[in-house]
Amino acid sequence: MASAVELQEIEVWDGNMAASHALRQAQIDVVAAYPITPSTPIVQNYGSFVSNGYVDGEFVMVESEHAAMSACVGAAAAGGRVATATSSQGFALMVEVLYQASGMRLPIVLNLVNRALASPLNIHGDHSDMYLGRDAGWINLCTCNPQEAYDFNLMAFRIAEDMEVRIPTIVNQDGFLSSHTAQNVRPLSDEVAYKFIGDYQSKNSLLDFNKPATYGAQAEEDWHFEHKAQLHSALMHSSRVIEKVFGEFAKLTGRKYNLIETYDIEDAEVAVFALGTTVESARVAAKNARKRGIKAGVATIRSFRPFPYAELGNALKNLKAIAIMDKSLPAGAMGALFNEVGTSLYQVKDSKHPILSNYIYGLGERDLTQVDLENIFKELQENAQAGKLTHPTQQFIGLRGPKLSFC
């Protein structure tokens, strides 16, 4: 029996330490991991918890991230609670196996500490890796700070392992900005946290010898489509369970999360839509913009997959202008978020069709400053007053050289 850790009411943790403690409290059967910046401390801390007797499960050190996720898939199919962590190139190496995990409906929890993709090599944060895994059939949850990294890890097990869901789940946090920034975190006691997550319920475990199962069999044109459709349907419906878990977590902790998080949006005319730590900066900028007479708001989503089209469309439909912030290379298109937010607004009934603009920013952790955000709110205000775009749809912020903009 693992020893419990006595936690203070308030701990000073960075996002990685917060995630490590959440994993420890979940009493995972198998963590298979390979280190990569900036997610390394998650499994490093976890490894020291194992060696000091605070964890009963297995900690498997492998030779690559591909092997780490493969071991996770094997252990999860065998019938255990399983988790790991990675970033950037390591995540890229895992991608092939991510599809195995989701196709086999194994409720693995993966901490993805968001970081740029090479080349050029860059160890800092942007959202490129998140988008690389976008279509892999995993639930993707987004967090802004260490407290949320902790809370969402606890909830991720509940969501992934729910019998209606059984879909592997990624908890995203921003590399360095969240993962290496120490803040006050209010943890639950080990006992309360574990009680919230609950005992692991296995489904079609490979170790159930009385009911042998074949995982990952071949299905060509005759059945492949049906299996993928089943996963898609389960993902689309999982938001119901995500909201249920958010609700139960709020009852336990008083911390209420929502699929759509808005700030000052009720009477806003213009808003910034972003993911991750940028949301917190944007709230400060919106507050300042209000002092200048701009009716500014901020919106974000907690689950990037499933994408909450209807809820988001409804939350944003009455705005006059929205800036959609993509912290990744759109590579020959509008930003990924831009496309999805735009679709949400087109889907929702009685939308006032806000004017949309797309800002590409922060690649390789180029700073996004309050001045940048102030300018964005100014441009939004101009769009709102003109009733049309007053600048190109897609613009790059903080890029050296001639201005880059498209469409």
Binding site: N204, A213, E226, Q230, S233
Partner: protein, 130 residues
């Protein structure tokens, strides 16, 4: 035909209808396989040529049985009993390793009737002299 919402999640197949542990005790011919199991479902769609077994020449050395990558060679009561065409992929390895002269397994077109094939079996080859 089942729809996408009819089957077990996770693309999982269950080879035995029930009691897997009991099934392991019995011979594979007597087990209660499900139609989705790879024992019952044909996994040989891509075979172009098939091996035909000639029991008249076969010396029951089991080379073919050992080497077949799909366990598609049928052996019963210590005798080679031919080929399981539901599982044979037509790779020809069994023919390659068969030591008799002429060979006791030969590849024929998948459409060839086995009786015809046996009638057209080649004669013993003379040993090549140096």
């Amino acid at each position: 035909m089942k729809g996408w919402n009819d089957f077990e999640i996770g693309a999982i197949l269950f080879p035995f209808a029930n009691n897997g542990e009991e099934a392991l005790e019995s011979h594979n011919n007597e087990r209660d396989y499900t139609p989705e199991s790879s024992f019952k479902a044909s996994v040989a769609h891509w075979r172009v040529e098939k091996p035909v077994h000639n029991s008249e020449i076969c010396i029951n050395c089991f080379n073919c049985w050992v080497y077949c990558p799909d366990a598609a060679i049928l052996a019963r009561d210590e005798k080679l009993r031919g080929v399981d065409y539901v599982h044979c992929k037509g790779c020809g390895i069994c023919v390659d390793v068969c030591p008799t002269n002429p060979k006791s397994l030969l590849m024929f077109s998948d459409h060839e009737d086995n009786q015809n094939a046996l009638k057209n079996w080649p004669q013993k080859e003379e040993k090549k002299k140096n």
